[in-house]
C-alpha cells in the first residue's frame, strides 16, 4: 500500500520454509471460549513475508478460532504467537493493529451507521499522526485503486449498501492502516458467486501490493487456488499442511476435509 513497504517475494521454492524468519507464527496453541472446552488443540501456524496462506477445514474445525486466537480475541491457554520475531501472545487487538496486523471479521465487519469515510477513519485509528489530509490523499487513492466502487460511495452510510460493497468497505477498513498482514475470516461468506470471485481477485491484488494475507475459508477450493500455502484443520488440530496445489490434489484430504462439492472438481 505505502511506498516504504517492499513488494514482497513469494516464498521461494529454493529456500526451505523453516529457515526464513516467519512474519507471523503460532506454536502449540490451545484456546477456547468456554472454560474447560478447548477449541484449538496444539495448533501450529506459520506465515512468511508476502505469502497468502489459506486455512481450510470442515465447519467447527477451529479455523476462525485460530485466527481469533492469533489476533488476541480468544484467550490463549497454552502456546505462543509471535509477529516479526517478537512475542505477541495475549496482546489485545488494538496493540496488534498498531504493530501492523489487520483483521476482518466474518460478520458485522463494518460500522453500519457510519459513512464509508468514517469507517476508514476508524480503520486508521492507530495512526495518530496520520491526519485527515493524508487519508484523503495517499491512502484514499490506494483504496480507490483497489476498490473503485467506494469512490462514489464515500459519503454514504454503510447500512444502505449491498453485501458485496460492505465486504469491500470491511477490507478497505483493515487495509487503510497499512498493515503488514491481514487476517481475513471467510471473506466470501454470504456473497454471490460473482462477488466472491471479485473478493478473491481483490485479495490477490492486495497481496501484490505487499501485504501478506491469511484467509480462513469454507469455500476451500476457490481459496486455495490463490494461496501459496494452506493448512487443513480438523477438531482444532493441524491435519495437513502444504502448498495450495498439493492440498487440492490430495484425493483423501479433498474428500475428508474440503468437504464441499468442489472437493470433487479436478483442475
Amino acid at each position: 500500500m505505502t511506498s516504504e513497504q517492499q513488494v514482497a517475494q513469494p516464498a521461494s521454492a529454493t529456500q526451505p520454509v523453516s529457515e526464513i524468519q516467519p512474519l507471523l507464527e503460532a506454536h502449540d496453541l490451545v484456546a477456547g471460549y468456554v472454560p474447560g472446552v478447548d477449541i484449538l488443540n496444539d495448533c501450529a501456524f506459520k506465515l512468511l513475508q508476502g505469502e497468502i496462506v489459506g486455512i481450510v477445514g470442515p465447519n467447527g474445525a477451529g479455523k476462525s478460532t485460530l485466527l481469533k486466537a492469533m489476533f488476541g480475541l480468544v484467550d490463549i491457554r497454552k502456546g505462543s504467537v509471535s509477529f516479526q520475531g517478537s512475542d505477541i501472545t495475549g496482546m489485545s487487538p488494538h496493540q496488534l493493529v498498531r504493530r501492523g496486523v489487520g483483521y476482518v471479521p466474518q460478520r458485522d465487519n463494518t460500522f453500519l451507521p457510519l459513512t464509508v469515510q468514517e469507517n476508514m477513519w476508524m480503520g486508521s485509528w492507530v495512526k495518530k499522526k496520520v491526519d485527515k489530509e493524508l487519508i484523503n490523499k495517499e491512502r484514499k487513492q490506494a483504496i480507490f485503486e483497489l476498490f473503485p466502487k467506494l469512490r462514489e460511495r464515500w459519503e454514504q452510510r454503510v447500512f444502505q449498501m449491498s453485501g458485496g460493497e460492505r465486504q469491500m468497505v470491511a477490507m478497505a477498513r483493515a487495509l487503510i492502516a497499512g498493515p503488514e498482514v491481514v487476517l481475513l475470516d471467510e471473506p466470501s461468506a454470504g456473497l454471490s458467486p460473482r462477488n466472491q470471485a471479485a473478493v478473491f481477485d481483490n485479495i490477490v491484488s492486495v497481496n501484490k501490493a505487499g501485504v501478506s494475507v491469511v484467509i480462513v475459508e469454507q469455500n476451500a477450493r476457490a481459496c486455495l487456488q490463490i494461496c501459496n500455502r494452506g493448512y487443513v484443520l480438523d477438531q482444532g488440530r493441524n491435519v495437513f499442511e502444504g502448498s495450495g496445489a498439493s492440498i487440492l490434489d490430495d484425493e483423501k484430504i479433498g474428500r475428508l476435509y474440503l468437504g464441499s462439492l468442489t472437493g470433487n472438481v479436478r483442475l
Binding site: 489476533f71 480475541l73 489485545s92 487487538p93 488494538h94 493493529v97 498498531r98 483483521y103 471479521p105 460478520r107 458485522d108 465487519n109 463494518t110 460500522f111 453500519l112 451507521p113 457510519l114 468514517e118 477513519w121 476508524m122 480503520g123 485509528w125 492507530v126 452510510r157 447500512f159 453485501g163 477498513r173 483493515a174 492502516a177 454470504g190
Partner: protein, 446 residues
C-alpha cells in the same frame, strides 16, 4: 464463593468503599448537619403582592410592592395558616401536604386606594399544590389592563417552558444513551448522577462549609469532580464486571443497588428538604410580548442548545467523536480496528457524567434541589432515549427536547399532575409502535 473468578474483587470492593466514604466525607464537610432533615414537608403557598405603577416612564413595567396585607390559607373550611405581606410584598404559608387549598386575601387590610382588579377574586377556591411544590398564587390589583392571558400566549409560554425542560432532559440523557450504546448497560443509577452534579455545585456555591464561589465559577470544578466520579465508577465497578462477562441484567441490578446507595447518601448528607442555589433563585420573567421567561431559563435553553450542538459536531467531525459512535455501533469491530475500546468507554463515562452533571445544575437553577431530583427525572430520560433511539446521542437529544415539549405542552389540556404520566405514556407507546426509536437505524438482515 465466586471470588476466584473475579480477579478485580479487591478493586471493586475498594471502589465501593471509597465512593461511600468520599460522599459521606464531602457531605460531612459540606452540609451543616441541621435538624432541618426532620422537616419533611416543604410544600407551601406563596405570592408577591404588587401593583403596576402606571405613571412610570420607560419600556419596562414598574411594580410597587404592597405590604401589610393579610392572606389566609385554608382547606375545607379549616384554617391552615395566615401570612402578612412584607416590605417587598411577599408572603408565604407553609402547608402540611399536597392537596387543594383555598387562599383568601383580606381586602380590609389593603392600603387605601388599592383595590383588586376583580373584586370577586379575593378568594381563590382551588389552589392545587403538588408534592414538594411551592405554589405561587397571584392577586391582581389596579385597573388591570392585561390580566387575561390569551390562549396563544399560554401555549407559547408552555412551548418555551417545554423547550427549557427538554434541553435539561437532553443534556442529562445524552450520557445515559451513550453509555448504553458503548456498554449495553441500562443504567438505573443515572438519575443519581444528575443529583450529584446539582449537589456538588450546591456545596461549592451555596453551602456554608464550602468555598462559596459564584455559581458560574462553581460549574467548572463541579464538572471535573463529576467526570472523575464517572471515571472511578467505570474503573472500579463497571470495567471489572464487564471483564467478568456479567450479564446485562445483572449489571442493571447492580446499577439499581448503586442508585440506592448514592441516593440515600445524598439523603443523609444533604437532608431530605428542598433547597435552592443562592444565586438566581428568584428572577422576574422578562416579557417578550407573547412569551415571558426568566432570564436564567432563557440562558439555560441557549447554553444547552449550543453545548448539544457542539457535542453533535464533535461526534460528527472529530476522530474521537466518530470513535465513540463506532464503539456504540459495534464494539467488537471497533476493537479489531485498533480502537482502544476501554479508553473510549472511559471517555464516554467522563463526558457522559459531566454533561449529566451540567444538566443537573441547570435543573437545580431552573427548579430546586433535593436528594431525589434525579430519580424523578430518570424515567423521563428513559422516555427520551427510547423515543429517540436507544444508544444514539442524537436520538437522546431529539428525544429529550420532544419529551420536554410533550410533557409541558400537555398541561394545556391535561391536569398538571399527569405531566410525568404523559411522558411515560409516550415511552410505552413508542416501544409498541417503533421500538428502535425515531433515529434508530435498522440493520439489514444478511
Amino acid at each position: 464463593m465466586s471470588l476466584a473468578k473475579f480477579p478485580h474483587f479487591k478493586r471493586f470492593i475498594w471502589s465501593i468503599y471509597l465512593i461511600i466514604l468520599g460522599a459521606v466525607f464531602i457531605g460531612a464537610m459540606g452540609f451543616p448537619v441541621s435538624g432541618a432533615s426532620g422537616q419533611e414537608t416543604s410544600e407551601s403557598i406563596k405570592g408577591r403582592l404588587e401593583i403596576e405603577d402606571t405613571e412610570a416612564q420607560g419600556p419596562r413595567k414598574v411594580f410597587t410592592p404592597i405590604s401589610g396585607v393579610r392572606v389566609t390559607v385554608s382547606q375545607d373550611g379549616r384554617e391552615i395558616g395566615t401570612a402578612t405581606s412584607d416590605g417587598s410584598g411577599e408572603w408565604s404559608v407553609g402547608i402540611p401536604s399536597r392537596g387543594t387549598y383555598q387562599v383568601r386575601l383580606h381586602t380590609d387590610t389593603l392600603p387605601t386606594g388599592i383595590t383588586l382588579t376583580d373584586a370577586e377574586k379575593s378568594e381563590l377556591p382551588n389552589v392545587l399544590v403538588d408534592e414538594g411544590q411551592s405554589k405561587t398564587v397571584r392577586f391582581n390589583f389596579g385597573p388591570g389592563t392585561r390580566d387575561t392571558v390569551s390562549r396563544l400566549e399560554r401555549i407559547s409560554n408552555l412551548v418555551l417552558s417545554g423547550l427549557r425542560f427538554g434541553a435539561i432532559i437532553a443534556m442529562c440523557s445524552v450520557g445515559l444513551s451513550l453509555i448504553y450504546g458503548v456498554t449495553g448497560l441500562v443504567n438505573f443509577a443515572h438519575g443519581e448522577l444528575v443529583t450529584l452534579g446539582a449537589l456538588v455545585a450546591y456545596y461549592l456555591h451555596t453551602s456554608a462549609a464550602g468555598p462559596q464561589m459564584s455559581l458560574l465559577l462553581a460549574i467548572v470544578p463541579t464538572l471535573i469532580i463529576c467526570g472523575l466520579f464517572g471515571a472511578s465508577m467505570e474503573m472500579g465497578i463497571w470495567r471489572p464486571l464487564r471483564k467478568r462477562h456479567t450479564s446485562l441484567i445483572a449489571l442493571s441490578l447492580v446499577s439499581i443497588g448503586l442508585g440506592f446507595v448514592l441516593r440515600y447518601i445524598f439523603a443523609i448528607v444533604f437532608g431530605v428538604e428542598f433547597r435552592s442555589y443562592s444565586d438566581y433563585s428568584v428572577q422576574d420573567p422578562v416579557d417578550f410580548g407573547w412569551v415571558s421567561i426568566a432570564p436564567k431559563n432563557m440562558l439555560i435553553l441557549i447554553v444547552s442548545v449550543m453545548l448539544l450542538a457542539a457535542f453533535g459536531l464533535f461526534l460528527m467531525l472529530t476522530r474521537t467523536g466518530v470513535g465513540i459512535r463506532a464503539v456504540a455501533s459495534n464494539r467488537e469491530l471497533a476493537s479489531v480496528s485498533g480502537i482502544n475500546v476501554e479508553k473510549v468507554i472511559m471517555g464516554v463515562w467522563i463526558l457522559g457524567t459531566a454533561s449529566t452533571a451540567l444538566g443537573g445544575i441547570f435543573l437545580g437553577i431552573s427548579e430546586r434541589l433535593d436528594w431525589r431530583m434525579g430519580l424523578r427525572l430518570l424515567l423521563l430520560m428513559f422516555a427520551a432515549i427510547v423515543l429517540g433511539g436507544l444508544g444514539t446521542a442524537f436520538g437522546a437529544m431529539l428525544g429529550g427536547f420532544l419529551i420536554g415539549l410533550i410533557v409541558e405542552v400537555s398541561t394545556y389540556w391535561i391536569d398538571n399532575e399527569f405531566k410525568v404520566v404523559v411522558g411515560l405514556a409516550v415511552l410505552v407507546l413508542m416501544l409498541f409502535v417503533r421500538p428502535k426509536g425515531l433515529l434508530g437505524y435498522r440493520e439489514r438482515a444478511a
